[in-house]
C-alpha cells in the first residue's frame, strides 16, 4: 500500500495503467473514445476509461482541463488519476464537472517512485485518504 496527497477526494477501483511518459490530454487523448491518440506516446492506442491512470506529470496545453471535463461528461474518464506532481489542470476539469453536476474522479498526488511500487495492470483501490493498494 502506498499513500499520496488527496487532490480530488473520492474512492475508486480499476486496473492500473501506468504511463512511463508525461502526457498532454489535449492532443493526446480523444475524449469520446477515451483513448490515447498521440502517436508519439508509448501508450498510443490504450484506453484510459475506467483505469486507475498513473501519470508522471501532465505536460502541454492548458486545454487539457477541457478534455478532462469532456471525459467526465462522456463517461469515458479514468476511474481515478494518480499524478506524479500536483497540477491544477486536470483536477480543474473535475472541479468544473462537479459544478455542472457530472460525476467526480478522485485524483491523488503520488510521486513517481511510489507509483512504480504498483504493478502495471493490477486491480488497485484508491481510498478516500489517498491510499492506493493492490488486491480485490
Amino acid at each position: 500500500m502506498v499513500k499520496g496527497r488527496v487532490l480530488i477526494p473520492g474512492e475508486a477501483v480499476g486496473p492500473l495503467l501506468r504511463l512511463d511518459h508525461p502526457i498532454s490530454f489535449w492532443g493526446g487523448v480523444d475524449p469520446v473514445a477515451g483513448t490515447i491518440v498521440d502517436p508519439r506516446h508509448p501508450n498510443y492506442g490504450a484506453s484510459i476509461t475506467g483505469t486507475v491512470l498513473a501519470i508522471p506529470s501532465a505536460v502541454g496545453s492548458s486545454s487539457s482541463s477541457a478534455i478532462m471535463l469532456e471525459l467526465v461528461r462522456e463517461g469515458t474518464a479514468p476511474a481515478a488519476i494518480l499524478l506524479g506532481r500536483a497540477d491544477a489542470i486536470l483536477s480543474l476539469g473535475v472541479v468544473v464537472g462537479c459544478e455542472l453536476g457530472y460525476t467526480s474522479v478522485p485524483i491523488v498526488e503520488l510521486p513517481v517512485a511510489l507509483q512504480e511500487q504498483l504493478t502495471q495492470g493490477a486491480r488497485v483501490r484508491v481510498g478516500a485518504d489517498g491510499s492506493v493498494s493492490e488486491g480485490p
Binding site: L7, I8, P22, S24, W26, G27, G28, P31, V32, V37, D38, P39, R40, S57, A58, V59, G60, S61, S62, S63, S64, S65, A66, I67, L69, E70, V72, R73, E74, R85, A86, A88, I89, S91, L92, G93, V95, V96, G97, E99, L100, Y102
Partner: protein
Amino acid sequence: MPLNLTQPERDMLAGTHGDATSMAMRIVVATADLLGAESLVEVVSAHIDGCLHHGDGGVEFAEKLVRGGGRVAVPTTLNVGALDLLHPEKIRTTPHNTDMARRQMQAYVQMGAEATFTCAPYQVGHEPGLGQQVAWGESNAIAFVNSVLGARTERYGDFLDACCAITGRAPLYGLHCAENRVAQVIVDASAVPPMLKERDVFYPVLGTWLGLQVGQDIAAIVGLPKTVTRDQLKALGAAAASTGAVALFHVVGVTPEAPTLEAVTGGADLPRVAVSAAGIRNSLARLSTAASDDQVDAIAVGSPHFSLQEFDSLLELLGDRRLRVPFYVCTARGTLHSLEQRGDAARLIRAGVEIIADTCVVVTPILPAKGGVLMTNSGKFAHYGPSNTGYEVLYGSLEDCVESSVHGRVMRNEQVWSW
C-alpha cells in the same frame, strides 16, 4: 495552512455579487486549496483559453456563467475559438459543432471579454508589464507573458482562467511568487554556431529540445545573441510548452528578469546543460514524422499566430510568385485588420495564401480532408499536427515552406543545420 480570504473575497463566495461570481470564486478557491495556496492575489488582466470548443461541456460551463450574470472584472482577451468567425466557410464541421463553437465564443464576449480570438494576445496590444500579476491561459501565451514580458502567471487551464477574470483573483502560488521564478538549471547555447542562432528556424527546435530536457523546470539560457527577436522567443516558448510544461524561461541578457545570470540564479550553483549538435539534431528529427521528402500536400504557418513582422517576411520571400501547394497562415483578426489596411492581405490572397483568423489548423478541421503531409515552420504545429489533423508533418523554415509551395515539391535548406 487553510486558505485566507479577504472580506470582499468571502462576499464573492457567498453570492453577494451574483451566482456566476460565486461559482467562479468556488472554483478559484477549490484550486487554491488543492495547490496549497494560503491566499489569493489580485490580477490586473486575464487571457481566457476557454472559448475553444472541445465538446459541449465547455459551452454548458460558459453559458451557466452568462446566465448567472458573469462579467469579467479585469481587462480580458480571448484565445482562439474553433471557428473563423470572419470566414466560417473555411471550417469543415457539422452544423451542431459550428453552432456550439459559436455559442461558446459568444458567451465569453457577452461576459465582457475582448473578441481577440488569438493565441498571441501579446501581438494585439495585451502586454502586461514586469512584475504585474495576471491570469493567463494557453501554454505559449503563458510562456511568453512570464518569460518575455516578465509579468507573473501560473499555467491556467480552461475554466480557471475565466474564473480568475470574473473574480479578479488567482491563487497566490507558483510563478506568482518571486521566489519561485528563479532558474533551476542553466542551459548553455554558446556552442551553437552563431549563424544558426540568427535563423528563425533554430528556435522551435531549441524549444522542442528545451521542453524535453527540462520538463517543467525553469531554465536560464546563456549564449543566445542579444539580437534574438520577439518572434524567435515566441517560437521557442511555444515549442518548449508543447514538449514540456515550460511556463517560464530566462534568456540571460535578453529577457527582463535576467539582466545577468546571477539575477536569475540568486548565486546558486545550478546544474548546467550544454545545447549539443546531437541534441539539436534529435529534436529537429522529432519535428518531422513524414517518411520521406517526396510529398507535400499542405503548408501551415502561424502557431503561435503570425505577427505583422512574420507577414513582412512572408511577403518578401514570396515576391510576385504564386503558391501551388495550399498555404495556410493563421493569425489574429487584429493583425489581419492591420494587414488589410496596408493592402497586403489582398496581395497575399491573390498569390494563393489562405488567411485563417480567430482559430488555427490544429484546433479545428480546416486542412483538406484527404490528409497527407503537412509542412510547417512551427514547432507547435509539428508537435500537435499528427494527432490533431491526421497529417504527417515535415518541419522547415518559412523560406522552405514558401519555396516548397511555389515549386510544388519539398525544398528544404539542410545546409543551415551543418554544425
